[in-house]
Symmetry: C2
DNA sequence: CCAAAAATTTAACACCGTTCACTTTTCAAA
DNA sequence: TTTGAAAAGTGAACGGTGTTAAATTTTTGG
């Protein structure tokens, strides 16, 4: 019998999961505060009282480990957006809330958020024909899809200009929110907005979201 | 006599400048293609046929060297914006051109641009009272100032809503353009926009700029 | 209890930025 | 032209990094 699918895993599996979790949570702790710079395999090994090489039995590389942190956080962002998306708020405000929520959640863990966008993705020369558009599967694809549907909704409801192409608009919105998140978390002298009272930050995020939505309006 | 200010520098000075320039241009070459990851002091030393330690006679650290690349590129961006700013184009179009130019220039050297915004600036606890707002001196301060004045102009000309606060609007614009530049250069699957014909990229940048300006309009 | 398998460690490799003591080169004054 | 100091450049090392292979310990099932 194959017991690998039972709810109660074997003790060996449980132990393995515990160690894996310990690695991830140590990594999470360090990464949240010091980012990729402060996170070294050796330091991680120290914190969980294992040897550095042990970590490689749980993760293929440091990048794989960090990727898991990034993906987890990005999924959290998506979740929060999805909540707003299906909230009962009236439309134009709901759209603004989605944008603002994206930025606010990104600001919760600046290092995570920035790292998720830090790699310059290679051009891979010839189009990979074998996997045509798995955009819908990836987290980033989902983010784009959410926004695209949000725009469509606004068009159908008559709030946005009818000639808008939802996909283009979604890209523009996403990029703009991404920029705001990066600026607010990375540029401490983003003029007159360093670590002022949180309500000011919130107000500015709302302001930015409003400006973007206005740009789509009829 | 102090000869250090004569136009013709001493031979020693000229040699020193040549070597310094060689280091910088090798660094520029590598950095443009491979970014900070591919740039090591040892590799630089190899390329210019010096020993690694020699480089430290010209730059205090690798960071100082890279900073010089980043600053130089950011100044190029500012220059291009300034050109647009003082062009003869009619107003709302001129504003769009400024935004689009910022993004287009950033895309010329993605690694440079990204690196210029890559550091999370520390909170430094207590405000540094000794240097109250040197925003106007720094390159980023200048970028902000340009945009702020651009918005003011739009308000006075009656194109933008009168109640807009120029500084807030400028921050929003800047952040949005920053986001677009980062997205377009870093996310190769920024959906349906990887390395399509350049005219498509240009068109999208214009689209984005237009959307932002619309958000400010009365 | 014992052998096979899994988990873990030790030690090394090849890098990295940086520093320091040392040698070589340059250059102006005697 | 010789000399001596300053400048330029080097070699070797230090402590750090990610990663891997072999050896070792621990766990597990028959």
């Amino acid at each position: 019998m194959d017991t690998s699918h039972t709810l109660e895993a074997s003790p060996a599996e449980r132990r393995r999961r515990r160690v894996r979790e310990a690695i991830l949570s140590a990594a999470e702790r360090v990464f949240a505060v010091e980012g990729e710079a402060g996170l070294s395999i050796r330091r991680l090994a120290d914190e969980i009282d294992y040897s550095p090489a042990a970590i490689y039995k749980y993760f293929g590389s440091k990048n794989e480990l960090v990727d898991e942190l990034k993906e987890a956080f990005f999924e959290r962002i998506l979740g929060k957006i999805d909540d707003q998306r299906s909230s009962t708020e009236a439309y134009p405000a709901r759209a603004r809330s989605c944008l603002a929520t994206y930025v606010r959640t990104a600001l919760e863990k600046p290092h995570h958020y920035a790292a998720a966008f830090s790699s310059i993705e290679a051009d891979t020369e010839e189009h990979n024909e074998t996997e045509p558009a798995d955009h819908h599967a990836s987290n980033k694809g989902r983010a784009f899809q959410y926004l695209s549907e949000l725009v469509k909704e606004g068009i159908y409801a008559g709030h946005f200009r009818a000639e808008l192409k939802p996909d283009e608009a979604a890209k523009a919105l996403w990029a703009s929110c991404h920029g705001l998140a990066m600026m607010m978390s990375h540029i401490s002298d983003f003029p007159a907005m360093p670590h002022e009272p949180p309500q000011d930050r919130d107000a500015f995020i709302d302001y930015h979201s409003d400006l973007l939505i206005r740009g789509l309006e009829a």
